[in-house]
């Protein structure tokens, strides 16, 4: 299998993590080697020394790009979800990663604000948070993303991406999604049920 890197970009609370997690689940069920790189998680580990200035944001994406490059060239399905607001940084990621697929979460900012349970947008508007993307720091939308999701449901969004991956030959046997058990797995389940005296 060829590795690839699905790069979710969009405003805060646009649904990147939710869709990326759901997609990761489906790809795992298909038997792919999957790795998730999520903004919130990476900022607590690999990039915990970085802030939100433009320089630090670029460094953040730079490091994540490096990891995604290593993984994607080693046949891993890498799913990255970062605001990644600047085109230049995303362009650099595209150049580095194997089979880069940009997914633009084109969710209207009003909906992002409604979903914002932590109230970050409100704090940014009051000036309590500085350099907040979409409020006092720019978000540069992709000019030509492979996939653009305009506030579609989780299921529809995942389906759109899976269809794209199938069309491009990155996944081949999607019927497996519905028929989740292989003959070997069925035999294992049968054995467990027998061991418990259920069948």
């Amino acid at each position: 299998m060829n590795g690839f890197c699905i790069w979710f970009t969009g405003l805060p609370c646009s649904g990147k993590t939710t869709i990326a997690d759901a997609l990761a689940k489906e790809l795992t069920d298909l038997g792919l080697k999957v790795e998730r790189l999520d903004g919130d998680v990476v900022r607590k580990s690999l990039c915990k020394d970085l802030g939100f200035s433009k320089e630090d944001r670029d460094k953040n994406i730079d490091r994540v790009t490096f990891v995604a490059k290593l993984l994607s060239r080693n046949e891993v399905a890498v799913i990255v979800s970062f605001i990644s607001p600047y085109r230049k940084a995303r362009f650099d990621a595209r150049q580095s990663c194997t089979n880069f697929i940009e997914v633009y979460m084109n969710t209207p900012i009003e909906i992002c604000e409604q979903r914002d349970v932590k109230g970050m947008y409100a704090k940014a508007r009051k000036g309590e948070i500085k350099d907040f993307t979409g409020v006092d720091d720019p978000y540069e939308p992709p000019l030509n993303p492979e996939i653009e999701l305009k506030n579609t449901s989780i299921e529809e969004s995942v389906e759109t991406i899976l269809n794209y991956l199938q069309e491009k030959g990155f996944i081949t046997n999607r019927t497996f999604i519905k028929n989740v058990y292989s003959p070997d797995e069925e035999a294992k389940i049968k054995k467990r049920l027998e061991d418990l005296g259920y069948i």
């Binding site: 939710t18 997690d21 990761a24 998730r36 979903r115 259920y198």
Partner: protein, 422 residues
């Protein structure tokens, strides 16, 4: 506020009552003794088996609505067998419904949730989960579980060795507590954690409960004492005075005999096999009138459901079922009648999947377990398994006022209404 649900798979009301009276479960007692708490028996599902009962709970609906009737089902219109999984569930779960109101859930080791499906929160699937990686959502939580050496279940392949099982049950309870604590650190609107080791213990060691001379007699008491202590710690550290329900999905009783109902159907010329040494029910002949799946599910072999089935008019269906019911009540072991109740599907199910429901569900008397197995010619037999499920005698303990909740499905309905109204 969070709503906490703790499941003790298969734990009977009567056993908890006995152990509370004996001073083995003091934390249960002190929780129940609080003025607003209640401890009452609960009814399971038809049939009383975890896949059906927990799915009725998680979807707050009956099997003809959620479409799960057992751990195994026919892959209609053929007689081949299939193992229903979480993607076969036809009804939304509690966590899917409350997610529409932006509420979050953590669901840990709930049976019949494999493979894990996307959730607004966290999911670790329970029995019959196979691979941990496919049991976890989101995938980022997989590493946390690997780091704590999480396991899905006891090693059932070695459970016949009761010394091994004792050690494994203790180890698994420690794993359960670790995984619960890991997920309870974060706040969710709904948290569901299930301990399935109780069911395993009762299947393999039920005989040790009453037999004081049995070498595992004190272990069973010690194990429930461990569960009591675990409960006490979770109440102190997390549950506190939040809305809380602890429940089991079915009751348990000592097993006298297994009844191989398909063999009985064959003896009564109601079922025919294509092979003299059948591997499974899949080797059934189209000439059969009835066939059975575990536990106590009876299907009429009708052409409208099974492609090789018999053409049977509606009038004849009723007559055949009436005749079968009469015959079943004559089934005896050592002169003791073994059938308690027989239900037609219309009596117990209601929903758009009624057509794939078993035509009849049999509840045996306590101590008898109806099996569909065909690896012997006998009708009655016994194995190393010493405990079996019951429809009655499950339990619930809660700090909620919910007197109308008499079945596991009702508990699901209560939680859903509570969270949607909150």
């Amino acid at each position: 506020m969070a709503f906490y649900v703790l499941g003790l798979d298969g734990t009977p009301f009567s056993l908890i009552s006995e152990y509370i009276d004996a001073g083995i479960m003091p934390n249960f007692k002190s929780y129940i003794d609080q003025s607003e708490s209640s401890f009452v028996p609960l009814l399971s599902s038809y049939p009383p088996i975890s896949s059906v009962a927990w799915t009725s709970f998680m979807t707050a609906s009956n099997p003809a609505e959620h479409g799960i009737f057992g751990f195994m089902d026919f892959n209609r219109p053929s007689y081949s067998l299939t193992f229903p999984n979480s993607k076969d569930r036809k009804k939304k779960t509690l966590w899917e419904i409350i997610a529409e109101k932006n509420m979050t859930s953590a669901v840990i080791n709930l049976p019949s949730t494999y493979p894990a499906t996307p959730i607004n929160g966290l999911m670790v699937s329970g029995f019959v989960a196979l691979e941990l990686e496919k049991s976890v959502y989101p995938l980022s939580f997989y590493r946390d579980l690997k780091d704590m050496k999480y396991r899905i279940d006891v090693d059932l392949t070695k459970a016949k060795d009761l010394d091994f099982l004792v050690k494994d049950l203790i180890e698994m309870l420690e794993i359960r507590e670790k995984s619960f604590r890991l997920t309870l650190k974060d706040k969710y609107d709904l948290w569901i954690g299930v301990i399935t080791e109780t069911d395993r213990l009762l299947h393999f060691m039920h005989h040790a409960i009453t037999d004081k001379s049995n070498i595992y007699h004190s272990f069973v008491m010690e194990y429930f004492n461990k569960i009591d202590k675990l409960f006490g710690r979770l109440v102190d550290d997390f549950f506190d005075e939040n809305p809380f329900i602890m429940l089991s999905d079915h009751g348990f009783t000592g097993l006298k005999q297994e009844i191989y109902i398909n063999n009985w159907l064959i003896e009564n010329n109601l079922m025919v096999l294509n092979k003299s040494h059948p591997a499974s029910i899949e080797d059934i002949s189209g000439k059969s009138l009835f066939m059975s799946l575990d536990p106590g599910r009876i299907y009429l072999n009708k052409r409208e459901i099974f492609e090789n089935g018999l053409e049977i008019s509606e009038e004849d269906c009723k007559k055949y079922l009436d005749d079968l019911e009469s015959k079943l009540f004559t089934l005896k072991y050592n002169n003791e009648a073994v059938i308690e109740k027989v239900f037609r599907k219309e009596d117990i199910y209601k929903g758009e999947f009624l057509d794939i429901a078993p035509d009849m569900v049999i509840l045996p008397k306590h101590g008898y377990d109806l099996k569909a197995r065909l690896n012997t010619k006998e009708v009655f037999n016994s194995t190393h398994i010493t405990g079996c499920h019951t429809y009655d005698n499950a339990f619930r303990i809660t700090n909620q006022l919910m007197p109308e909740c008499i079945s596991i499905q009702n508990v699901g309905e209560y939680i859903l209404n509570f969270l949607l109204d909150y």
